[in-house]
Symmetry: C2
């Protein structure tokens, strides 16, 4: 619908950040809205997000979760109930103070009606732990009411000062799971399970390799005992936190007085987790795979997996191409492949080629009069931009296999890139040099927030996570020389 | 998860309104939240809404629409751009005035930071015409950019004074379609097409018969040229507006200066429609079919379509029942039927029976030791509460057919109820009498808002719609005796 701008994208090598911003706009994924920091997710971008949602939702349901919906607005006082939580979230949020407008006395538009001031201000949810635990209080009496395994798909708002489309916006879309358990062990197991669900989704669907780990105290979710994270590496070597799962202990149960009678007939506070991924994943998807020609989408999330473009000189040639393409479309669809036949007359093939490249369609098939004679078709795969000729016979199975190959290939490519840019570093000099080049640095750290903050101050590198399955050999802190239990991942990050 | 209250529901005959409120709570559909007028949609209620969403979304996509997402917040000034629109929506809405909280100087919680006042207040969307047409301005230059056929699934907020769960809540979930067209004819055709999509969904999926019609000027959407509606009749004879589709003319295009170059190379304002259905449909669904035992759900929207309950005296009997049920589950699932086998040990069969009745599960199968000997199974259908014995052979196909029969039956029952409570009325005395009894009154009206409002004042009846395929015979207004083009539908309404 929007005007397609086929003008050159900024090249990644010239300005990676500008390339990203250009691509979001030019590929019709999103645009800035009239409201500061809030984006419009355009149909093509939203179609990718819908595919992500469907895949995630299926995985949540397979692991026993159910969806529900909790209010958008949270009473201001709820935020203060959990001491760490309010520090993390109350500071920059949208506050509703009134419930009515009235005509301006000067006849120009409308003004806030001062008489419609709310008794207690309401906050647009930055995250829903507080309102949900206030609700769970009514749902839980005994161990028989547990576990509660709820998820909600919702919009949330955090009044960010510096915003970037998908990566950091004031309003964003996400899902937030909130579970309640009878024991610490069960809650910890749930938080870890969801970390693995996220990891599986990132690697299998998004083709984005991730490191699973635990956050340091300084990087933890406000109100959590432990925050688990999946961390991806972008092409520029910067880390992108792609999903988090929190073991909340009994913090929110205590804040909202949620107790249950356990099997020994004793009252106990309920154990909690929460976990979420957001439209930020779109940023990870874009920055992991795309190139100077535009988006590269993993076949599993591409709204259009295959585009077929006819090349013809006259109506007769188009007709004979149509005759070949019709049954192909049927067969491809029957294989569950989303295919578009673009025989629109008002755009030249070259324009179409560039457009579908920009949009990241994984496979392009081009069919001309000569192909029909030879029973062949030209196949272009978006990930490598390679073209070759294939037989028209069984082209559908050929394409189905090719889509799988592309899915695997872009994952492997991203994984190799991460390996190439992951460094084991043992000296502070080396650390400072490597961090400038980008990438993940595996280094020892003494476990203190003080050291972590000093390293951040000097190098802008943060500890992305303590990897779950990393090398557990102890060593000495890269900065202080004090004992370290294991290497952690340092990187600059989005 | 919640405690199941099997205590008697209020009977419909005793207090229909209380019966509805009780049922929403007891069937675990929703509950009030800590925020005035905002509900929590509980997992069982949300599962029904998800099924509705999926069915509607499929229909939108089949008719060429795509989803997108627009911001939650709307600049206050946008509302004033369209004169009628601001009258309709600016008056009761949630107003965001600040973007930060800070610690209270008295150390007790947080307060609004007066220094974080927004330059222009933002409104939580009560509907999104304004922000969307402000966006479409950037998307449309020429007739080639048209039509735009966008939909969004979103939460909206209207600060209602009196709220009832699902029927009228401050925050509610809905979808809103917003389309842009090159001609008046195309926009009118779109508004009518979506009315028929809604009607088809209501009748085929919800099993709720609806009258399709046009709203009078007084009942029109604020900013529309014409509002189309589907009107359903509840069991108490009151009408429930279940979906609306608006032909907006060029009103929003003019307000936001959205022009296009037409095929004759002339500048013209774009033509618009918008259309929406909301979680209010849940209210229509509940009130159309349910009874004094609880929910009655149409099979097409029931989260659980079939429940199987074993009756056994010992482990051995349970094991032999399990052996029969396992392949049944597989086969039912392969037929696309959602089935639950409830062999939980900690609840007695009688409790389970009442619970699944309350939850509206369409078919209950009960299997005992005697049944296994006889190769039979007890079948209970929720719509009629009739029980009978069926053969275990081919029980899956039998159940599949029964589900269809139930879907048809509850539709026919609702349709007959509407027919029985629809009256052709020709005198004012008769009108006043009939309206007290409830139901739809087909009567003549002189076409003026003045008369419409007087009738409303005297009888609380509103004109629900001017039916599209009603009798077009002219007559005389029931109230003023002035000429009338056709009968319209009067009713009291939710």
């Amino acid at each position: 619908m929007a005007k397609i701008e086929l003008k050159d994208l900024t090249k990644r090598a010239d300005n990676y950040s500008q390339w990203y911003n250009d691509l979001v706009i030019k590929a019709d994924l999103a645009e800035q809205s009239a409201v500061r920091g809030c984006m419009v997710i355009k149909p093509y971008g939203y179609a990718i997000w819908e595919k992500m949602q469907r895949e995630l939702d299926d995985r949540f349901k397979e692991t026993g979760h159910i969806n529900a919906y909790f209010p958008l607005l949270i009473p201001k006082s709820f935020l203060s109930r959990e001491a760490d939580h309010v520090e993390g979230f109350a500071k920059e949020c949208a506050v509703v103070t009134h419930h009515r407008l009235k005509n301006s006395p000067d006849g120009k538009g409308v003004i806030v009606d001062p008489e419609a001031r709310l008794e207690e201000e309401l906050i647009i949810r930055p995250t829903s732990e507080t309102i949900i635990w206030n609700t769970y209080k009514n749902w839980i009496t005994s161990y028989r009411d547990l576990p509660i395994l709820c998820n909600q798909w919702a919009n949330v708002m955090r009044w960010e000062m510096r915003t970037r489309m998908f990566l950091r916006t004031a309003e964003f879309l996400w899902q937030e799971g909130h579970t309640a358990h009878a024991t610490r062990e069960e809650a910890v197991a749930e938080a870890e399970k969801m970390l693995h669900v996220y990891g599986d989704f990132a690697e299998k669907c998004m083709a984005v390799p991730v490191v699973k780990g635990v956050k340091t105290a300084n990087e933890r979710f406000a109100g959590a005992i432990d925050t688990y994270t999946i961390e991806a590496m972008m092409q520029d070597g910067k880390a992108l936190q792609s999903g988090t799962s929190h073991f909340l202990g009994q913090n929110f149960a205590k804040a909202f007085d949620v107790k249950f009678i356990n099997q020994n007939n004793e009252q106990e506070y309920v154990w909690a987790t929460s976990w979420g991924v957001s439209t930020r994943l779109m940023g990870a998807l874009i920055m992991t795979h795309s190139d100077d020609n535009g988006l590269v989408l993993p076949p599993k999330l591409a709204p259009i997996q295959v585009v077929i473009i006819p090349i013809y000189k006259n109506e007769e040639q188009l007709n004979s191409i149509n005759t070949i393409v019709e049954p192909m479309l049927t067969k491809l669809k029957s294989l569950g492949i989303s295919v578009k036949y673009d025989n629109a007359d008002n755009k030249r093939p070259g324009f179409k080629f560039a457009d579908y490249e920009l949009k990241g369609v994984p496979v392009r098939l081009v069919l001309g009069a000569r192909d029909i004679e030879n029973r062949t078709i030209e196949v272009m795969r978006r990930d490598t931009l390679e073209k070759h000729s294939a037989s028209l016979d069984n082209i559908e199975e050929y394409v189905a296999n090719l889509l799988e190959e592309i899915q695997d290939n872009i994952y492997t490519k991203a994984l190799n890139h991460r390996k190439d840019m992951t460094y084991i570093v043992d000296t502070w000099e080396d650390f400072k040099e490597k961090i400038e080049q980008g990438g993940f640095i595996l280094a020892h750290w003494d476990g203190t927030t003080e050291t972590e903050l000093k390293i951040k101050e000097e190098t802008k590198a943060t500890i992305r996570c303590i990897p779950l399955d990393g090398d557990k050999t102890p060593g000495k802190c890269i900065y202080t020389g004090k004992p370290s239990a294991q290497r952690v991942i340092f990187a600059r990050n989005y």
